[in-house]
C-alpha cells in the first residue's frame, strides 16, 4: 500500500506559541488513520495546514503525490472535510446548501442532481432535502455535513471529531457509511476523535501532545508497548489473589490483576493453576495508552 499523505518536519507557530513542532508521519491509502491529542495539542492546526486553510512555517506536505506548495488546488479536490461543528448555512435548505457547495467544485446541473441522489440514498436524507438546515436535529445535520464532504468524491475524508455529541444510533449509521465507503471506494479516512473506542478501530494511530508526536503505531502495538495485560479472576478470595504477588484491584465479583504482558500472565497461570479456574486475559485499552504517553485522560471532548 502506498502512502497517500506524507508529512515531513511540519512546523507552525502563532507568535510564541509553537502549535506544531517538527512532526513527520504518513498515512497509507485506504486506511483508517486516527490522530489523537487533547485540545490544543496541534491536531486542528495540522488539519488546517493539510486543507490549505493555514500556511505552514516549514516542512513538506505531500497528498497523493502532490506537494501542497505547488498543487494546493489539486489537493483540495482530493480532500473532503467534516468539521467539528457544522459549517452549513442554517437559514438555507439542505438542497440549497449542497448545491452551493457542489458548485465550488464545478459540480452543477445534472451532475449535481445525480450525486445528490446517490448521497441521499447512502446517508438516508431524501426526506430532508427541502428542510432548513437550522431546523434539523444534531444527527440529521451530521449526515448532511458528511454528504457535503463527499460531494466531489474525495480520496481522503478528514473527520474532525465527527461523532462528538451524537446519539448512539447516528454514530452507528455514520460508522457504517464510512466503512462502506472505505470498502467500496478504498477511501482513506483521517480521523480525530475523543472516543477511544473509535481510535481502537483505526489501522494506525498518531498521538500528539503539545505540538509533538509522542507515540505512533497500530493500536495493538501501542497497547503492547504502553500498557500491560489484565487478568480478571473470578471465584477467588483476597488471600488467594495476594499469593500472586502482583498489583490488583477488587471489582464487583472478581479481582483484576495487572501483569506486564501476556507471557507473564501465562507464567502465573502455570505456577498457580488452582487459582485460575475461571478467568480472562485482556489487553490494556487505548485510554490507558493515551494516559501512559501523555499523562492526560481524553474523555468525550474534555481532557483531565
Amino acid at each position: 500500500m502506498r502512502n497517500i499523505i506524507e508529512i515531513e518536519h511540519l512546523s507552525k507557530s502563532f507568535g510564541d506559541v509553537k502549535a506544531v513542532q517538527d512532526i513527520s508521519f504518513s498515512v497509507r491509502e485506504g486506511e483508517l488513520f486516527a490522530f489523537l491529542g487533547v485540545n490544543g495539542a496541534g491536531k486542528s492546526t495540522t488539519i488546517s495546514i493539510i486543507c490549505g486553510g493555514l500556511m505552514k512555517d516549514s516542512g513538506t506536505v505531500i497528498i497523493d503525490g502532490h506537494t501542497l506548495d505547488d498543487n494546493s488546488e489539486q489537493i483540495k479536490r482530493e480532500l473532503g472535510v467534516v468539521f467539528q461543528d457544522s459549517v452549513l448555512d442554517k437559514s438555507l435548505s439542505v438542497k440549497d446548501n449542497l448545491e452551493s457547495r457542489a458548485a465550488l467544485y464545478g459540480i452543477k446541473g445534472e451532475a449535481f442532481k445525480e450525486r445528490l441522489k446517490e448521497l441521499s440514498v447512502l446517508l438516508d436524507f431524501k426526506d430532508l432535502l427541502k428542510r432548513t438546515v437550522g431546523k434539523l436535529s444534531g444527527g440529521q445535520r451530521r449526515r448532511i455535513d458528511i454528504a457535503r464532504a463527499l460531494l466531489h468524491r474525495p480520496k481522503i475524508l478528514i473527520l474532525d471529531e465527527p461523532t462528538t455529541g451524537l446519539d448512539p444510533q447516528t454514530r452507528r449509521l455514520l460508522w457504517s457509511v464510512i466503512s462502506e465507503l472505505r470498502e467500496k471506494e478504498n477511501m482513506t479516512v483521517f480521523l480525530t476523535t475523543h472516543y477511544m473506542e473509535e481510535a481502537a478501530e483505526a489501522d494506525y494511530v498518531v498521538i500528539l501532545d503539545a505540538g509533538k508526536i509522542v507515540a505512533e503505531a497500530t493500536p495493538l502495538e501501542l497497547k503492547n508497548t504502553h500498557t500491560g495485560d489484565f487478568i480478571t479472576i473470578y471465584g477467588i478470595n483476597e488471600t488467594q489473589v495476594e499469593l500472586l504477588q502482583k498489583p490488583y484491584e477488587a471489582i464487583r465479583d472478581a479481582y483484576r490483576v495487572s501483569v506486564s504482558n501476556t507471557a507473564e500472565a501465562t507464567e502465573l497461570i502455570i505456577a498457580h493453576p488452582e487459582i485460575f479456574a475461571d478467568y480472562e486475559i485482556t489487553k490494556g485499552k487505548m485510554d490507558d495508552v493515551f494516559l501512559a504517553v501523555t499523562g492526560k485522560k481524553l474523555t468525550g471532548g474534555t481532557e483531565k
Binding site: V81, F83, D89, K90, A103, Y105, K108
Partner: protein, 296 residues
C-alpha cells in the same frame, strides 16, 4: 471562475432569509421615516416656507412636493449605504459561522469568493434600493410630481452609483471584521452615524462651518446632493417659471444642500459625478489590494 454564479445566488438568499441581517439593514431608513412622521416633515416644511422673503409664498402643492422630494432623496441617500453595509455583513458572518472555513477547503479561488460577496451585495442592495426608489416615485406622484424623464434616469443613476460606493466602502470595512460583536458594533455605528454625516436627517447647511468643511471631504455628501438636485430640479424650475427671483431659488438650493461648497467653491453636478465615480474606483482598488495583502 468556478461556482461564482451559485455563490452569488447563495449569498443573496442568505441575506434575504437572515431576518437579523435584513431587518438591521432597514433600521436607518425606518428611523428616517419615523423621524419624518414625528417631526422632520414639519421641520422640512417650515424651513422651506421660511426661506421665502416676507410677502412671498410658495403654493401648497409645490411645498408638499418639495418636502416629499427632500424625504425621498434623504431616504435613498441613507438606504444605498446602510443596506449595502448590512448586506455585506454576510462576509463577516461567514467567518463567525465557519462557512468561510468550508469555502477555503474547496478549490475555489479567494478572488472568486471576494467577487461573490461584492456582486451579491450589489444585487441585494440594488433590489432594496430600487424598490425604495419605486415607492418614492409613487409617493411623489401622490404629493406632487415634478420630475422629468431625465430626472428619473439621473435619480436611478445616482442610486446605482451610491450603491456601488456603499458596497465598496463596506467591503473594505468588513474585511477587517471577524466577530459577532464587531458586526453589531459597526452595524449600529454606520446605521446611526451615516444619516447625519450625509445630511439626510438634517441639511449640511445647518451644521457649523467647521463641520461643513469636514463633511465636504466625504464623497457621500456629493451623492446626497446629486439625489437632492434630481429630486427637486422640477420644483425649482416651476418656481422659476412662476417668476420667483433667482436669488430666492438659489438660497433655497443652498438651504437643502442642492448646492454644496468645497472650501467656499461651489461644486457642479459633473464634478459631483466625478467625485463619486473616482471614489468608487479608489475604494474598489483598495479592496482588491487589501484582499491580496490579507491572503499573503
Amino acid at each position: 471562475m468556478i461556482g461564482l454564479g451559485l455563490l452569488i445566488k447563495r449569498n443573496i438568499k442568505m441575506f434575504f432569509k437572515d431576518k437579523g441581517l435584513f431587518f438591521t439593514s432597514l433600521i436607518t431608513p425606518l428611523i428616517l421615516l419615523v423621524l419624518y412622521i414625528s417631526f422632520l416633515g414639519k421641520v422640512y416644511r417650515d424651513s422651506f416656507a421660511m426661506s421665502f422673503p416676507e410677502g412671498m409664498e410658495i403654493p401648497g402643492k409645490l411645498l408638499d412636493a418639495a418636502v416629499g422630494g427632500q424625504l425621498v432623496s434623504s431616504l435613498l441617500a441613507v438606504c444605498c449605504v446602510t443596506v449595502a453595509c448590512c448586506s455585506n455583513m454576510l462576509m463577516v458572518q461567514d467567518k463567525v459561522t465557519g462557512a468561510r472555513k468550508d469555502f477555503v477547503v474547496t478549490p475555489v479561488k479567494g478572488s472568486t469568493l471576494a467577487l461573490g460577496y461584492y456582486v451579491s451585495t450589489l444585487i441585494s442592495t440594488l433590489i432594496i434600493c430600487l424598490i425604495t426608489t419605486g415607492a418614492g416615485f409613487l409617493y411623489l406622484g401622490e404629493v406632487g410630481w415634478y420630475l422629468s424623464g431625465s430626472d428619473v434616469v439621473f435619480l436611478l443613476l445616482d442610486v446605482f452609483l451610491l450603491v456601488m460606493f456603499g458596497v465598496a466602502l463596506s467591503s473594505i470595512i468588513n474585511l477587517m471584521l471577524s466577530t459577532q460583536g464587531q458586526i453589531s458594533a459597526v452595524g449600529s455605528m454606520v446605521s446611526s452615524m451615516y444619516g447625519f454625516l450625509c445630511g439626510a436627517y438634517m441639511p449640511i447647511s445647518q451644521f457649523s462651518e467647521g463641520l461643513q468643511k469636514v463633511i465636504s471631504l466625504l464623497p457621500g455628501t456629493y451623492a446626497t446632493s446629486l439625489l437632492r438636485n434630481h429630486a427637486l430640479r422640477g420644483i425649482f424650475e416651476e418656481l422659476e417659471a412662476d417668476g420667483y427671483p433667482s436669488a430666492v431659488i438659489e438660497s433655497l438650493r443652498d438651504g437643502i444642500d442642492c448646492n454644496v461648497y468645497f472650501f467656499g467653491e461651489k461644486v457642479g453636478l459633473p464634478t459631483m459625478y466625478g467625485i463619486l465615480g473616482v471614489s468608487v474606483a479608489v475604494l474598489v482598488g483598495v479592496y482588491v489590494v487589501l484582499h491580496l495583502v490579507k491572503r499573503k
